[in-house]
């Protein structure tokens, strides 16, 4: 979950890292007033989570006479569908150069890693000489002399080493204290012997860490680019990803569902959604999952069929069947449902597989002995419809 630049900078400031003086504004009037406060000239930055703002013309240097007009223009803009809802109006910083600093988690070692480069700015990632890296032992943390050695490896010398190292230690502190998976400052303005100034802040938080950070808990649901069903699902403890295909999927387990979507694609269909229970698999959650898929089928004309895949061993089959029956009783499916249901061990203690299948058949679900047949049947329905 990515934070807006203004929120990221707030975290940096709290950790003692220098950031430009600025105001968050929501209207052209506020923007003009902030420019006045800054003595006339300012940098105006659209607050969207997506990258590439500079190239899209969403970061502008303005004088006070044009402030309101530019602010109005930016506030009406969108970047890849994300509307601009606020602007950060900042002092412009005179810099000797643009550096790069970041802390993230290395996918292979599973350890935090600090990155530093004296060549920041646009396209730092595609530079032929990549940033210097330092793996951090999380049992020990990042100390100032570690950070100093990293900056030295990046080519920095002299008094600036001290403040640059302190800034990097500050980034690691932001990373740890907020359960971030990425804290990135690009550009980090070189101010000679003065502490470097964070020109931007990209802070990506770990959604699994939100239980420790109530201040960010509602932030994800506020993302205006979320599909309404995605937002609804998130509030119900279900992971739902909306896709633009013709075959909706009602399945459990992230890996099995991904494999099912891939199989649909492989056989010539196009999946319309992903679905997974995030918070356990109680009867309520299962019912919500069925509901979400029925709503998708009801509201998206492109959906021609649903594939149902249930394999349970620990979760009682009865929980799923009752949840599905309740949901289908209230809202019968607009399109045919083809599926495969398997249950074993503890799952069939309170309801046998035959009973479960019989109930689902009553609600019009067509069941097959294996999942591939169900997929092929659903794809055939979608084809006929074309």
């Amino acid at each position: 979950m990515q934070l807006f630049e203004w929120a990221g900078k707030e975290l940096l400031r709290e950790a003692g890292i220098a950031v430009p003086w600025g105001r968050l504004v929501h209207s052209p009037q506020e923007a003009a007033a902030a420019c006045e406060e800054l003595g006339g000239a300012a940098v105006m930055k659209a607050q969207v989570r997506r990258g590439g703002r500079g190239k899209a013309g969403l970061i502008r240097t303005v004088g006070s006479d044009e402030a309101a007009a530019v602010a109005a223009e930016l506030l009406a803009a969108r970047l890849e569908g994300e509307p601009v809802q606020a602007l950060l109006v900042e002092e412009s910083v005179a810099a000797g150069g643009e550096w790069y600093a970041a802390v993230t988690i290395d996918d292979l070692s599973g350890r935090p890693v600090a990155l530093a480069s004296l060549r920041g700015g646009v396209d730092v990632e595609s530079e032929s000489d990549p940033p210097s890296r330092l793996e951090i032992n999380p049992l020990r943390g990042l100390l100032r002399h570690d950070a100093a050695e990293l900056w030295r490896a990046a080519g920095l010398r002299g008094l600036a080493l001290r403040s640059a190292a302190e800034a990097l230690v500050g980034l690691y502190q932001v990373f740890v204290e907020n359960d971030a998976v990425l804290v990135e400052v690009n550009p980090l303005f070189d101010r000679g012997d003065d502490p470097p100034v964070a020109g931007d802040a990209k802070v990506v938080l770990d959604e699994s860490g939100l239980f420790r950070h109530p201040r960010w808990r509602d932030e994800r649901l506020a993302d205006p680019t979320l599909h309404p069903l995605e937002r609804k699902a998130a509030s119900l403890g279900v992971v739902y990803v909306d896709l633009d295909g013709d075959i909706a999927v009602l399945s459990g387990g992230a890996g099995a569902t991904m494999a099912l979507l891939d199989a649909i694609l492989h056989h010539g269909g196009r999946p319309a959604n992903f679905l997974d229970a995030a918070g356990g698999s109680g009867p309520e959650t299962l019912r919500h999952m069925v509901d979400l898929v029925l709503e998708k089928a009801a509201t998206d004309e492109r959906v021609k069929a649903v594939v149902l895949n249930v394999t349970v061993a620990g979760t009682p089959l009865e929980s799923f069947v009752k949840g599905a029956a309740a949901a289908l009783g209230q809202r019968p499916s607009r399109v045919p449902i083809h599926g495969c249901v398997r249950a074993a061990a503890a799952a069939v203690r309170t309801m046998s597989l035959e009973e479960g299948r019989a109930v689902l058949a009553e609600y019009g679900i067509r069941l097959y002995p294996d999942l591939r047949q169900a997929v092929l049947a659903a794809i055939a329905v979608a084809r006929e419809d074309k």
Partner: protein
Amino acid sequence: MAILVSQETRLLVMGISGRYARNQVREMMRYGSRVVAGVTLGRGGEAVEEVPVYDTVREAQQEHTAEAALMYVPAPGVREAAVEVLEGGLRLVVIVTEGVPAQDSAYIRALADERGAWVVGPNTAGLIAPGQCLVGSVPPIYTMPGPVGLLSRSGTLAFEVTRSLTEAGLGQSTVVAIGGDAVIGKNPAAYLQAFEDDPATAVVVMLGEVGGQKEHEAAAVVARMSKPVVALIVGRSVPAGKTMGHAGALIARQDQGAEAKEQVLRDAGCLIAETLWDIPALVRQALGPQEATR
């Protein structure tokens, strides 16, 4: 033989008093797993399925010297519980919990590495050595003893594929769900090496996902293995920047997509499955006619 566990493995269950844990313990013991102790703070002196419960790991270890821990602990408590079992000298730690913060997992992994312990998960359904030992919730009914070693980022996909292998008469040496998170105790590469070293394993099935570089690292191990590896990478339809259930399945760069991973694995000598249903045939092909009917 198998990897990580055997008939002899003495198990300790953290958080044994919860309802879900109780059910799992019952299933594991029915299968023949040796659950020797449970730990739930405040429940010391009680018993679950005749397994004695202790307040702390240290107390349990004074009586039992368990070697493997299975953790049913809510996400906020996982880091501390893992430190407790690692300091208790357990060499295998299976963390079932979903939603463990990545930095907690990084901390646990670093501590485990320091102590020479092996962490499975977090976010795992566990593992089974068919006919020997069940740790977690892999349905035994889907398994049978045999020469296939299977590792999977996903529990549910491991179940599906294992069931299809068993139906095809292809038994397994060990089936292990290694964890769906971005930071897990051991990467696929480590499991591949363990299967290579296991005399009971003749062929390996690796079920991977899009996101990260772990399959690239795994390819380097495959290239020097003597045993054939069949691989499936799922997540072809994951849009870049979105996660589908598993925190690890996030495509941040081009080389983290399914096609790129398949290419790297194919170059290393893997047999690549196009869908999950192709796996039994590929395993049979990899084993050769004698092995498969052994």
